[in-house]
Symmetry: C2
Amino acid sequence: MVDILHRVGVVTPSPEKVYDALTTVEGLASWWTDDTTGSAEVGGVLQFRFPPGGFDMKVLDRRDSELVRWEVVDGPTEWVGTTVEWNLRQDGDHTIVMFKHKGWREPVEFMHHCGTKWATYLMSLKALVETGKGAPSPNDVHVAYPD
Amino acid sequence: MVDILHRVGVVTPSPEKVYDALTTVEGLASWWTDDTTGSAEVGGVLQFRFPPGGFDMKVLDRRDSELVRWEVVDGPTEWVGTTVEWNLRQDGDHTIVMFKHKGWREPVEFMHHCGTKWATYLMSLKALVETGKGAPSPNDVHVAYPD
């Protein structure tokens, strides 16, 4: 089992805006993909769609301004059953975002791609909170093409 | 042992320019850090310096337009003994860069940071080859601050 791990620091006085961007359909649509639907409550399922396909994520857990956990319940075979975990904490004028996409069965080429792509989406989340404008799909940063 | 894995696709007709950017001091200085010195030949040591510190990398292996491998011989404790491996292959009009920073002993917070930061440097390498201009330190993309 192998994991994708990332960390960004978002300039913002409290974790609230980052947490909102991870726990509302409008927030998620503003940095990951504008085609986001579903329920962001615990037990709910979020549908994230991109031009090449997408993911359904069940919300396993959320704790105000601290934690969000999803399980991938539909999408590419390599993703199904993996979990995505966000931990937030405040450090001075930054919200530190610790990101884990856990439980990949093998370090396949697609996992390498997703590792880089997640980084660009985390930078989109950071930009959204800091500037009001993210780069969600279909206006996302391309790390290869098509991606 | 845990690894940082990434993949980018660089629009270029052959892997030659990417390989040059990984195997010459001038190339490395144009996307990773402008304070790069040393020898990029097999058995040589490269010194990469950034405002907060740096790394010395011994060149373990290189094969024209295919492979580069370094071992970290000096730098932060977490990095020493880890290896950095670049595999290149051509796929149509893209050079596919498969990147592995292997052998981290623990998935510490610093590893999360380095995972994100490597992604931004890979995007700098991609930009260098595609546009002639990368974003090496000290003009690198910040994923937190200081970083």
